[in-house]
């Protein structure tokens, strides 16, 4: 955890971002990065973004971290398939939207109408949203979502339709 925090702080400093902001709470052992760094990396790599919108002290985030993100296979799949971005929905850390607008992480949460945390969003490399899902998720849920995105199903059907035939 400490290593991840140090890495995030390092990224923020490297980008010239004011780091007088609270620490985020991404799950242990995952290379989550800031929004700016993540979208830049996604554009460069052509990989989709897995956006984790959390909150400092959030219970459901903590539960998802401990029970889903502790899955070693999930770790392998998500690190390989996605650029991982964490946003603290109460933070004043600044980020740049694809439009060029500079806003805070808190303001991003307002724009995305985040009602409850955690909320997870899958983005295309250009930052446009594929789909989002709120609340506690299991590792199994995340594997399904990964199939929807990495398998390209999102190009031809909605997540609702995909889950309907995958789950039943």
């Amino acid at each position: 955890m400490t290593a991840v925090r140090n890495w995030l702080v390092g990224c923020a400093l490297a980008l010239g971002v004011l780091s007088s902001v609270a620490e985020a709470e991404p799950p242990d052992g995952y290379p989550f990065v800031s929004y700016d760094a993540g979208l830049a990396q996604a554009r460069q790599d052509g990989r989709p973004v897995f956006l984790y919108l959390g909150r400092y002290g959030c219970g459901w985030c903590d539960k998802t971290n401990r029970e889903a993100f502790s899955d070693r296979k999930l770790h392998t799949v998500y690190v390989r398939h996605y650029v991982l971005v964490y946003v603290d929905t109460e933070s004043g850390r600044r980020l740049t939207l694809p439009s060029g607008e500079r806003i805070t992480e808190r303001e991003l949460a307002a724009r995305l109408k985040v009602m409850a945390t955690p909320m997870f969003a899958y983005l295309q490399p250009d930052g446009s949203e594929i789909f989002r899902v709120p609340g506690i998720q299991s590792a199994q849920d995340f594997f399904l979502y990964d199939r929807f995105v990495s398998g390209g199903y999102y190009k031809k059907e909605s997540i609702r339709d995909f889950l309907a035939h995958e789950v039943h």
Partner: protein
């Protein structure tokens, strides 16, 4: 003409109560005017600790914001003389990227401005006739400045890095004469050294004390704390502002969320607070308020401000203004009607009024990020960010609510 909105999601009785409560609006609203026009690729922001983006003195209105019109985020101020419709604009910040400007009113038609630039916080005085020289207040990495002034003096508070975390620092200022540089009288850390970040302070200056509230992360989740001081150097022990509900889980997480407290001076001895509160976690953030006792050593019970039609939707950007005649108003934005509008509630005889979509700050296109203040006569002044559509350019809009109600029911005493 006030356009009231009703919903059919609740019972008739509740609807009638809401209309009765909202119909006694203490203000009549003028048509909005543009403060900063839209421009291609230009994004206007009203982001300020304590939401202090607007102030009024001697009939002159001052508004401050940040935009990127020349490719860099910079802070600006606009002034409107009494009786005139248009605003005259000046740039506040220097050569570096600047953010989150704030303003408070001084005597004699002057204002004190603050902003963040180049990792520091700055202040300068000024008015429609020009701005004084800027003063750098912070020496370590700093942001989130807020300001307030009153009989007890002019004060600034901000978040400044102190070791690993940020602490709230409060400074007493001499704003100086028109055109001169403000001077720092003294400054002190309110509650330190911090064991976790302290963020986004808010201020209210009373007759003989200054009240400061802030977000504090020491408890493992965000808690609002407040403290008061008579001299700006010695502070009371911090107290919790937002009631702490029993934890839903003893295993996962540390507690509910809360964000962006704002304070207003109600009269010489009392302050009022508003913030966004996630205690009812399924419906997003709600608007909560609390009133202080005389001397502001204590705040009373937390009161939900928004009405039931806003319960299942998130509220954002809560702002508060008050007048000694027991006028107390809170504004915010939410999209209960499918599109973000500016909503207003005021303290009425039976608590907070039903919510009013402010005429001129509602309708098609997002209307967000309000900031409000009241002048010496109790008139309400509102500025917000407006867009013709969700992907369209932003602009700043302003309107005045003329006070039409001479007497308000007294705001109840805090026990």
């Amino acid at each position: 003409m006030i356009s009231w909105r009703t919903k059919c999601t609740s019972g008739l009785v509740a609807g009638l109560l809401w209309i009765a409560g909202a119909s006694a609006a203490p203000w009549e609203f003028a048509a909005p005017v543009t403060v900063a026009p839209p421009g291609k690729g230009v994004f206007h922001h009203l982001e300020a600790a304590g939401r202090r983006s607007i102030a009024v003195t001697s009939g002159t209105v001052a508004i401050t914001w940040e935009d990127n019109r020349d490719g860099t985020s910079r802070t600006y101020a606009a002034f409107r003389f009494p009786g005139l419709e248009g605003f005259a604009e000046q740039r506040l910040s220097g050569t570096h990227a600047a953010y989150e400007p704030v303003v408070t009113a001084l005597a004699g038609g002057q204002f004190l401005f603050g902003w963040e630039e180049d990792g520091a916080v700055w202040v300068r005085t000024g008015g429609p006739d020009g701005l004084g020289k800027p003063l750098r207040l912070s020496h370590a990495e700093a942001s989130q400045i807020t300001l307030a002034a009153g009989e007890a003096g002019a004060f600034a508070a901000w978040a400044e890095r102190t070791g690993e975390h940020t602490a709230i620092r409060l400074a007493r200022l001499n704003p100086g004469l028109v055109g001169s540089m403000p001077t720092l009288i003294d400054s002190a850390v309110v509650a330190g050294p911090p064991a976790q970040d302290q963020l986004y302070p808010a201020l209210a200056v009373l007759k003989s004390a200054v009240v400061v509230a802030w977000e504090d992360r020491r408890a493992g989740h965000t808690v609002l704390l407040f403290s008061h001081s008579r001299d700006g150097r010695k502070f009371s022990a911090p107290r919790v502002l937002n009631e702490q509900l029993p934890r839903r889980s003893q295993v996962f997480g540390r507690g509910t969320g809360v964000a962006r407290v704002a304070l207003a001076r109600l009269d010489a001895g009392r302050a009022a607070a508003v913030w966004l509160d996630k205690r009812e976690f399924e419906g997003g953030y709600d608007v909560y308020a609390a009133l202080s006792d005389r001397g502001a050593a204590h705040f009373g019970r937390n009161e939900k401000v928004q009405d039931e039609f806003g319960n299942n939707i998130g509220q954002w950007h809560a702002t508060i203004a008050a007048h000694p005649d027991d006028l107390l108003a809170v504004a915010w934005d939410d999209d209960r009607d499918g599109n973000a509008d500016i909503w207003l509630s005021w303290r009425a005889a039976n608590g907070w009024s039903g919510d009013l979509a402010v005429p001129g700050a509602d309708g098609p296109g997002p209307d967000t990020s309000p900031a409000i203040t009241m002048d010496d006569d109790g008139n309400l002044h509102l500025v917000w960010v407006a867009q013709a559509d969700a992907n369209g350019p932003t602009q700043l809009r302003y309107l005045e609510g003329k006070r039409i109600m001479s007497a308000m029911p007294p705001v109840p005493a805090v026990h």
